[in-house]
């Protein structure tokens, strides 16, 4: 029986904040393949290209035929829980704070024996389970055995909760909450159980349809924030930064220009100023305090979400300068991810294809509705994954990109 998460009590401001510790994060290069797949929400293991033997732990050559060609393949994770234990003493500082901790030994149907974290909903050994991969607090891939059927309060299992960024009982900041996406994001966070959403807006004198209704919601608090203005970011961080658990950076300038279609750099500069420098300003002002609160109880700081674009991977020339600004933001977000890791803060990048908004007006469908993007972001938070590609266009471009970036480049520039 999994105890449901209860709303945390109001924090006593005089108490010292528990500092973030991380589970052991060292991995060999081969093992990082498991992390890479888990970052996308997938459970993959190596399989031998020649004899198909599935390998675990990750390694360099096939344990059966010694082939050097091992390929990461998605796994169903179905297997038998052979044995389990409840760890009650540990040398590891991170786990020591979180005892008792349930572990299991699973024999996958495809062969290997796995040491796994064991979800509280799994029946005692022997029983059937389904193993999945998640990113743990140190951002590395780990295995977690789940029961085959959903159990009540599934997400509240304390081990799973450590690996996810559930919005429930948390406070979130949406950095541009006036756009259709921003508004959808605010509403989706409230639906997912966020206690408070700061709806940030840059130009208070500008109205947007629906924004007044949004501000009327009880969980919403407006906050002035202009990501192009350093002092504005600083002041917003000073006011609310110490309470932000989830930051969703929706601030964006999007113009539909390549290089030749627009003289001067002013339009491109506006894109960079928001899409790249805006991220930098936010990261400088909000990052450190979020990082320090990574272990601050049930409603700890937990995630930073960037709404990038699938164009960040490969330039879409009709929106060429926009693509470049998103590529710059992608690179910077990797830097941010590295800097936030010590606090156990997950940096999540969403790479949607064209959103159904005015700047993509001339593009043919399929286009992603803002509400669908918001929903995908919420799911990514609940799963604790790092890279999310919502929608059909994004998924297809990702598949093409992974197979051959150069081919995709050509396909995008007819």
């Amino acid at each position: 029986m999994i105890r449901p998460l209860s709303r945390p009590r109001r924090k006593n401001p005089l108490l010292r904040t528990r500092q973030p510790l991380l589970p052991p994060g060292g991995r060999s290069r081969a093992a990082l393949g498991l992390t890479a797949a888990a970052a996308l929400g997938r459970f993959e293991l190596q399989a031998c290209a020649e004899c198909n033997a599935v390998q675990y732990p990750p390694r360099e050559v096939c344990h059966r035929c010694l082939s050097g060609t091992l390929r990461w393949r998605p796994q169903s994770g179905l297997g038998e829980l052979l044995s389990e234990t409840l760890v009650q003493a540990s040398h590891d500082p991170y786990f020591r704070e979180r005892l008792p901790w349930r572990l299991g030994l699973v024999r996958l149907d495809v062969g290997p024996t796995l040491v796994v974290h064991l979800h509280g909903g799994c029946a005692p050994a022997p029983s059937r389970v389904r193993v999945g991969a998640r990113l743990d607090k140190s951002g590395q891939g780990v295995l977690l055995a789940f029961p085959l059927e959903e159990v009540p309060n599934m997400a509240d299992d304390p081990e799973l909760h450590e690996m996810t960024c559930d919005p429930r009982f948390r406070k979130a900041l949406v950095t541009d909450s006036r756009t259709p996406l921003g508004q959808a994001m605010v509403r989706a966070l409230i639906d997912a159980g966020a206690d408070l959403v700061w709806a940030a807006h840059a130009e208070p004198w500008k109205q947007a349809p629906g924004f007044a209704d949004l501000l009327a919601l009880p969980q919403v608090a407006p906050v002035p924030l202009d990501v192009t203005e350093s002092r504005s970011v600083k002041e917003a961080a000073a006011e609310i930064g110490g309470k932000v658990d989830i930051l969703i950076n929706t601030a964006e300038v999007h113009r539909a220009h390549g290089i030749a279609s627009r003289s001067g750099i002013e339009s491109a500069r506006a894109e960079m100023d928001v899409n790249y420098f805006g991220l930098l300003r936010l990261a400088q002002e909000f990052g450190p305090v979020m990082r320090a609160r990574g272990a601050d109880g049930v409603a700890s700081a937990t995630a930073w979400v960037n709404i990038l674009s699938i164009y960040a991977l490969a330039n879409f020339p009709p929106h060429g300068t926009f693509s470049a600004s998103k590529a710059a933001a992608l690179s910077l977000s990797q830097c941010l991810r590295a800097e936030m890791r010590p606090g156990g803060i997950r940096v999540i990048n969403a790479f949607p294809g064209p959103i159904d908004d005015e700047w993509n007006q001339t593009l043919p469908p399929p286009k992603l509705a803002p509400a669908a993007l918001a929903k995908a972001v919420i799911q990514a938070l609940k799963d604790g994954i790092e890279d999310v590609y919502p929608g059909d266009v994004a998924e297809e471009w990702l598949a093409r990109y992974r197979e051959s970036p150069k081919t995709l480049e050509r396909e995008l520039s007819p």
Partner: protein
């Protein structure tokens, strides 16, 4: 008396002594200096065009160092803005009607034009009643009847007390049909240029034209005709209520930007002490 006496007397009475007496008046407070500029700050409202057009940068400022590891003993900043950010000057080259005139840019225009008499027409009550108030030629004639004829090569400044609107939303005064700020009517602009030979027109709001100037014919008549006639504009002025209707001298020099269309300025006025308020 020696042969030099008449010359010495002449020297004492020479026109150059007006500067000396100005200096003395400034020191004594007989002449006061009024600051007609808004503070350049990131919060000051900025003109915004439709998104598909190029945008004028708002004022932004980034520290270089502040007595810290970036520079232990000094504090300084880099700033950026557009030529038309904050309290600023419009040169004739700014508008298509003035693009080919000689000496039409900030670095080429005659500097004599940058100091001159200011006539301040008080439209504050009208603007309070109607944000779309248009100053007509008729209003100007009534002003002259009370305060005297506008001298040639004067600056005409439209006082609306708009600068007292410190809430940015109220200053911009946007709604679904666009911006609503006061400005000159077409006939007022033509009158000032053709009948009074003004050097330029100034307002307290963003834009020398009214917020709804797009709908006048031609659109933005103040920009169109003033710059087309080689005259200038001043915008986002403040403290016009501290100037007399006539008699102030205004200093409004833009930065000497190569081929510039305008620049933020520190607009200043000299007013006689005690002779500042009216109405």
């Amino acid at each position: 008396m020696s042969d030099d006496a008449p010359k010495a007397a002449q020297r004492m009475a020479a026109p150059a002594s007006s500067l000396a007496s100005l200096a003395a008046d400034l020191a004594s407070g007989a002449v006061r200096v009024i600051d007609l500029s808004q503070t350049l700050s990131p919060r000051f409202p900025q003109i915004v065009l439709p998104p598909e057009f190029g945008q004028c940068w708002p004022f932004r400022i980034e520290e270089i160092s502040r007595y810290d590891e970036r520079g232990a003993a000094w504090y300084w900043n880099n700033f950026s803005c557009g030529e038309h950010t904050g309290t600023h000057f419009d040169a004739p080259i700014h508008w298509v009607s003035g693009r080919d005139l000689p000496r039409n840019a900030t670095d080429t225009l005659p500097v004599e034009h940058l100091i001159g008499p200011a006539c301040v027409i008080d439209c504050s009550r009208e603007a309070a009643r109607d944000p779309d108030f248009l100053l007509t030629a008729e209003h100007i004639r009534r002003f002259e009847a009370e305060h005297g004829r506008i001298p040639p090569r004067a600056w005409v400044l439209m006082r609306t007390d708009w600068s007292k609107r410190t809430d940015p939303a109220a200053y911009q005064n946007y709604d679904a049909t666009g911006q609503h700020t006061p400005g000159p009517a077409l006939d007022a602009v033509r009158f000032l240029i053709e009948e009074r030979d003004v050097i330029g027109f100034g307002t307290e709001s963003i834009g020398t034209d009214a917020g709804q100037g797009y709908h006048l014919k031609p659109p933005y008549p103040c920009h169109y005709y003033m710059h087309g006639a080689g005259r200038y504009g001043l915008q986002c002025l403040a403290n016009l209520d501290l100037l007399p209707p006539q008699g102030a001298i205004i200093f409004c020099a833009p930065l000497k930007i190569e081929n510039g269309s305008g620049s933020p300025i520190r607009a200043l006025a000299l007013v006689p002490h005690g002779g500042s308020n009216h109405g």
